[in-house]
């Protein structure tokens, strides 16, 4: 009778038509004897036209769906290429509206903001380098150094917003170059490691300063360890929650159990953002404290050393990605 193709919701059309005809017959709308033959014929013709229209509609819908599906594949391919290109350090700006909220585009929007921040940061550090090399006075140095530290506050705030929108993107470190990602800790650098490398760069330090810097290094390391252990506890807890939802999945009790466990797991994932926030807070506090221990000139040298270190990591990433293979 009517073609019933499985991929389109056609099956009801023919049935409905038959049902309508049967209803019409039983309600005496159409006499079953010959006197209303013309009415029968009109009805039959109408039904045939309906069937034809429905068939055409189904074909159009099928074509549309196929078009959608091939577009979707193309989109996925493009996204993968974009990701690959970004990984290779190629900056790709979105052609869309960049003032758009983080909502749907959290990761990409953050990557763009971070790239902009980094560019500005490097500009400021170069300004500082120029000032140091030209033996600028403390006053001038202090202005530039304070500016750089305040600018660091900007990225911590931006990261905080981004973590609210997409905590896993921040945790992944995909917004950093590969070599930097090697050393990633809770979405950023380890303050304790940074201080270790600085201690040698900063001589001469007074006894008091040396003690304070060492204490700072120790404190930041203790805080890092504490946060790391909290993260491990979170992982453990999450694993236990998910494992608890395993087991024979047939009874309704188990379905409720499954949903309950999922709800708990969701709650736990929600605390990840807090850990990133605390890690960034630690970084921020450590930088401020370091600055308060050092003289202006020493702070300047520290910021230059930090920048040199990360520049090297980024350069290493570029070399690595461009290395000849095989």
């Amino acid at each position: 009778m009517a073609d019933v193709s499985p991929r389109t919701d056609t099956s009801t059309d023919a049935d409905t038509e038959d049902k309508n005809l049967r209803n019409a017959l039983s309600q005496g709308m159409i006499a079953s004897d010959g006197s209303d033959k013309s009415r029968d014929q009109k009805t039959l013709r109408r039904l045939a036209q309906n069937r034809e229209a429905a068939r055409k509609s189904r074909l159009r819908k099928k074509a549309y769906v196929q078009q959608l599906e091939s577009s979707r594949m193309k989109l996925t391919q493009l996204e993968q290429e974009l990701q690959r290109a970004r990984q290779q350090g190629i900056f790709i700006s979105s052609s869309g509206d960049q003032a758009q909220s983080m909502g749907g585009n959290g990761a990409l929007a953050f990557d763009v903001e971070y790239a902009r921040w980094l560019e500005e940061h490097n500009r400021r550090v170069n300004e500082l380098r120029g000032a140091v090399n030209s033996h600028a006075g403390d006053g001038e140095l202090r202005i530039i150094v304070d500016g750089i530290l305040a600018h660091y506050d900007d990225i911590f705030r931006i990261k905080g917003d981004a973590a609210k929108a997409d905590v896993f993107h921040i945790l992944s470190g995909m917004w950093k170059t590969p070599a930097e990602r090697c050393f990633l800790w809770l979405g950023g650098f380890r303050s304790s490691e940074l201080l270790k490398l600085l201690i040698n760069q900063l001589e001469p330090l007074t006894e008091q300063q040396l003690m304070s810097i060492n204490n700072l290094q120790q404190s930041s390391q203790q805080a890092e360890d504490a946060l790391s252990q909290g993260m491990e506890a979170l992982q453990q807890s999450l694993a236990e929650t998910l494992a608890a939802s395993l087991g024979p999945s047939t009874s309704t009790g188990n379905v409720a159990n499954y949903m309950g466990q999922m709800a708990m797991a969701m709650g736990k994932l929600g605390t990840l953002e807090g850990f990133i926030r605390q890690a960034d807070n630690l970084r921020q506090q450590t930088l401020q404290r370091m600055h308060s221990i050092l003289t202006t000139r020493q702070s300047a040298r520290a910021l230059l050393a930090i920048n040199d270190y990360f520049s090297r990591l980024r350069a290493l990433s570029s070399l690595w990605l461009a290395r000849p293979r095989e």
Partner: protein, 102 residues
């Protein structure tokens, strides 16, 4: 609130937590690392836990746990504790309260 004050004054270092809170776990670990043995009270196991949580919020503790008291004095939650530790104040507070010796 009285229950909070009562418990907070019983030991030099006191931490209010919840058993499921992993940030609380972090703060506890920090205190153990410093050599302190804080008294830990889990609000979800306390009879008046809900009341106590509200009281802590009233003190300005956000999130309500972990809530740290040293020498009976309210110190703060995670952010405050870590900030104080970075500038060296936390250790000094613990020494002053005789929770640790060095």
């Amino acid at each position: 609130m009285d229950r909070i004050r009562e418990l907070a004054s019983k030991k030099a270092a006191v931490i209010f937590t919840k058993s499921s809170c992993c940030m609380c776990y972090s703060i506890k670990q920090l205190f153990y690392e410093l050599g302190a043995s804080p008294a830990v009270h889990e609000l979800d196991k306390e009879a008046r836990g809900r009341e106590m949580e509200l009281a802590l919020r009233g003190l300005g503790c956000n999130p309500s746990v972990p809530a740290v008291f040293i020498g009976g004095v309210f110190v703060g939650s995670t952010t405050d504790v870590i900030s104080l530790h970075v500038d060296g104040s936390l250790k000094q507070m613990l020494i002053d309260a005789k929770a640790i010796w060095f």
